[in-house]
Point group: C2
């Protein structure tokens, strides 16, 4: 019997800093309902989906704390969880996490159609800096606001009604790091889900990158890593102009050949739906990317023995 | 002063099994001269450039031995080396190597404009099988005819007149393995060179792959890995119909953004030239892919501790 899973990428348009939380939550629920009405079984929302992308601002005190979730779910997001369970639909969502110990992570969870949390992930590849860049209109302060994720890359099984796919989560910048994908590939992953907030310019300063090239980077990273790990992938943006700072769109659903089978066309709230034949991963996993037959880890030592680049003599 | 290096991808059309070696060598020299006449300083030839792609046949004895080079250079390829030195042009070329100890490798060298061998590499990711697949018209017997490469992924410095770029070599199937690229990325590579013979169908049997998807795979693997390691890349095909077995073309020169800046249009002998600004790698290496700042090797252990995929419980 074919293992078909109907996926939805629920791209969000911009969330301004002044937008009330309940307005944003209502947008998420509207996207969820739209996806459900199209028969989607699993909806992928962006990174930090409940708020604006706050690491672009130098913040402290009450406003900064207001962006974190002390538990998941919690009263201010409960309605999304309730509506999803009513509809029998699961979802991936990114959020800022504050632990009982007071640690902060850029996190994501995947929730099953029964409301149970199937997997949790904390972002490993934090971009940006701890200290603000002087003179920059917009910051990228993820290294200031979050600890490095401590979960590693834990694959998990999706729901029974989804045909129990082996799943993996990433968050934003992680998708550009082939090590992260390979960690999941080595767990036989069939479906990767991830959300992002990616600037439509060079967030580290510099003038050589624009929306077009940044969108291209986002697409080829997901396409090639999906292909090289023979997995489906859903990669979903928060897009558009947040308080003057542009974010790319191009949320995509990608098959195990690396081919885009669904893609957002706007920079607004938008649902893209595609059917994934989970067994389509077998062509790659059994042949070209049969890791047991073809990998040579004895030659990969630099990947773990070195952090930075070291030029030859 | 800008570090500009003029690169040539010297794609070859098919080399039939019956084609005499001197005819093939004359084609290589003609491509070299064509590249030199366009001002190219470094020409990249395909994998196993001096012969047909013989691993598609089950062979033994004299014919099989005739495909290997016992030294490099040697009398039957010397003319290419001589002509290149006369023209002051360097090249990458792939060949089948037989060592004095009788070991066989799928190898490549990069030769400087003065004729010196700057680097040597033996293919790590051998595709195919040791035993022939029964009933298959064409085999993929690289695991039968070659040992796994024992060189690792050694970066080296290009010639003075090329602005001494940090270079790395791959061969064919290697380009689909992000570990191989990352090994060079961790040596701060600026220019990757590689040749290939890639079937225009599924070489492991199966009917879901055709020339179009196989060409797409080849391109996105090179594009995304060039981007994720912030390096230039030249990836060159032996293309077309060899004795009834199709090979993809699409030789490409790719910039550190992953953008194709030169691409072959035919399945024949064809030269593609492009200028590489080697300092264009800095945007990626200093920011997004500043490995020292952003990599987290403590979470990459599966990459070296595991060979094959192991699904979660």
């Amino acid at each position: 019997m074919p293992r078909i899973l109907r996926l939805a990428a629920a791209q969000m348009g911009p969330t301004q800093r002044a937008e009330p939380r309940d307005v944003t939550l209502a947008r998420l629920i509207a996207l969820l309902e739209q996806a459900a009405s199209q028969g989607a079984q699993l909806v992928v929302f962006p990174e930090l989906a409940f708020t604006t992308f706050f690491p672009r601002w130098l913040l402290s005190g009450e406003e900064l704390e207001s962006y974190y979730e002390a538990s998941m779910p919690n009263p201010q997001v409960q309605e999304l969880f309730d509506r999803a369970r009513e509809l029998g639909i699961g979802f991936y969502v990114g959020y800022a996490e504050r632990t009982p110990e007071g640690l902060h992570y850029n996190s994501a969870i995947t929730v099953g159609p029964d409301g149970s949390i199937l997997g949790k992930y904390r972002k490993v590849h934090l971009p940006g800096s701890v200290e603000p860049r002087e003179g920059a209109r917009f910051q990228q302060l993820e290294k200031r606001y979050f600890e490095y994720g401590d979960t590693g890359f834990p694959a998990f099984r999706g729901a029974e009604s989804w045909h129990r796919p082996i799943m993996g989560m990433l968050i934003c910048n992680d998708r550009r790091w082939p090590e992260a994908w390979r960690e999941y590939g080595l767990q036989d992953v069939e479906l990767m889900v991830m959300g992002y907030n990616s600037a439509a310019y060079d967030p580290n300063g510099g003038t050589t990158e624009n929306e077009e090239i940044r969108t291209f980077h986002s697409n080829i990273a997901v396409q090639a890593n999906a292909y090289m790990n023979a997995t489906w992938a859903v990669s979903v943006a928060k897009a558009g102009n947040e308080d003057g700072s542009g974010l790319i769109g191009s949320s995509v659903i990608v098959d195990p050949n690396g081919v885009i089978v669904g893609q957002a066309k706007t920079l607004e709230d938008e649902v893209v739906v595609a059917d994934a034949d989970l067994d389509a991963v077998r062509q790659g996993k059994d042949k070209m990317f049969n890791f047991a037959q073809h990998r040579r880890p004895e030659h990969y030592r630099r990947i773990v023995d070195q952090v930075g680049a070291q030029p030859p003599a």
